[in-house]
């Protein structure tokens, strides 16, 4: 086992998480290699260790508060199955576990309100479009100006060359 391999496994070796075989090979390398031994010691010195923990009075205080919170939660009726909207809100809220329901509900309501507004806006928009189109058509319909002499629309080449011929052609 070389230095790189050894060093990558040192922490697991110290934590006793390696197989006996691998563990023995690490021990062998560490005892023979000064630089790996130095790293091993520094890692060991930096190991966090749990202290004696909370003093008894603070532990008991915490236990009491946990028991009371559970009693209170038991006394509150189990929440009724949530509606589809609440489920949606709850689902979105679950992203932030700290504030599951209020956040989710707010998002849910906001979405419904947004949808309603969007629906209203789209109706208004459609109505406007329709009105604009009708009005546009009306302009088109009214456009042929009856007061413009029809002759004016005739191309110059269409000048009455021989109206007589036209009428007496056949």
């Amino acid at each position: 086992m070389n230095c790189r391999e050894t060093q990558s496994l040192l922490v697991a070796w110290q934590d006793g998480e390696l197989s006996p075989g691998t563990s023995a090979r690490i021990s062998e390398h560490v005892s023979a290699c000064p630089s790996c031994r130095e790293i091993e010691m520094r890692l060991r010195a930096a190991t966090p260790m749990a202290g004696p923990g909370l003093p008894n009075d603070l532990r008991r205080l915490a236990w009491d508060r946990i028991d009371r919170a559970l009693e209170l939660a038991r006394a509150t009726p189990t929440p009724v199955p949530p509606s589809a909207l609440e489920r949606l809100g709850g689902h979105l809220g679950a992203v932030n576990e700290r504030v599951p329901l209020p956040f989710g509900a707010v998002v849910g309501y906001a979405m419904v309100l947004g949808l309603a507004l969007a629906w209203g806006a789209s109706n208004w928009w459609t109505a406007n479009l329709l009105r604009a189109e009708v009005e546009g058509r009306r302009i088109v319909v009214e456009a042929p100006a009856s007061d413009v002499p029809a002759a004016q629309f005739r191309p110059a080449s269409y000048a009455p060359t021989a109206p007589e011929n036209e009428s007496s052609a056949p």
Binding site: S8, L9, L10, V11, A12, D15, E17, E38, M41, R42, L43, R44, A45, A46, T47, P48, M49, A50, G51, P52, G53, L54, P55, L58, R59, L61, A62, W63, R65, I66, D67, A69, L70, A73, R74, T78, N96, E97, R98
Partner: protein, 204 residues
């Protein structure tokens, strides 16, 4: 905590969890109480080490057990109660730490590590050296801090950590190795001596 760790290593915990599951079939309420009694100190201490605030840690512990009580799968055959409890605790603590950071960003005030430390922190953590190590952990990423807490303060095995974090055993190994390497670097930057003599004294 010492006897509990010994029990964990000998696998007594798993057997007791099975007993609790059996109890739940006849008396769910008593089974929930048994889960609370069994894990309350470990969950509370895990939260204390992460949050360094007694009140907030108690709040989190309450919330964890209320969630457990309302968890329909809690006593299912395959359900791993211990990993679930630590995962929920870790998530709740992570949210609190993130909110704190956001709050201090808004106020544009530098957070002080000891602001969240009760006076008794030295009693809880152990000696002065361990207080320094705990303080140094605040300079690590959340991911590294979390895995170090789970391993060394809550005394979970690599397998249990893999369960709690939902990662592979190999990832636990490499992440812990990197986290500890970073911790050594931070302690170096803080001028904490980690030479052979000190190690001997510390481990004596």
């Amino acid at each position: 905590m010492g006897t509990e760790s010994a029990a964990a290593l000998s696998g007594v915990f798993t057997d007791e969890d099975e007993d609790i599951k059996r109890l739940s079939r006849t008396n769910r309420r008593a089974a929930v109480d048994a889960v609370v009694r069994r894990y309350r100190d470990r969950i509370l201490h895990h939260a204390i080490y992460v949050l360094k605030d007694y009140q907030e840690a108690v709040d989190v512990t309450q919330e964890v057990f209320i969630k457990a009580m309302r968890e329909p799968r809690l006593f299912d055959g395959e359900f791993r109660v211990k990993a679930w409890l630590f995962r929920v605790t870790s998530n709740l603590c992570f949210n609190i730490v993130r909110d704190r950071r956001r709050r201090t960003n808004i106020l544009d005030a530098m957070p002080k590590v000891d602001r969240y430390m009760p006076d008794q922190i030295e009693n809880i953590v152990g000696d002065e050296r361990q207080v320094v190590i705990l303080g140094a952990m605040d300079k690590l990423t959340g991911e590294h801090k979390e895995i170090l807490s789970l391993r060394y303060y809550s005394d979970l095995s690599y397998n249990e950590i893999a369960d709690v974090l939902g990662i592979k055993l190999g990832t636990v190994m490499s992440r812990l190795s990197r986290a500890k390497g970073r911790l050594v670097e931070v302690l170096d930057e803080l001028g904490v001596v980690l030479d052979e003599d000190t190690v001997r004294k510390v481990l004596a």
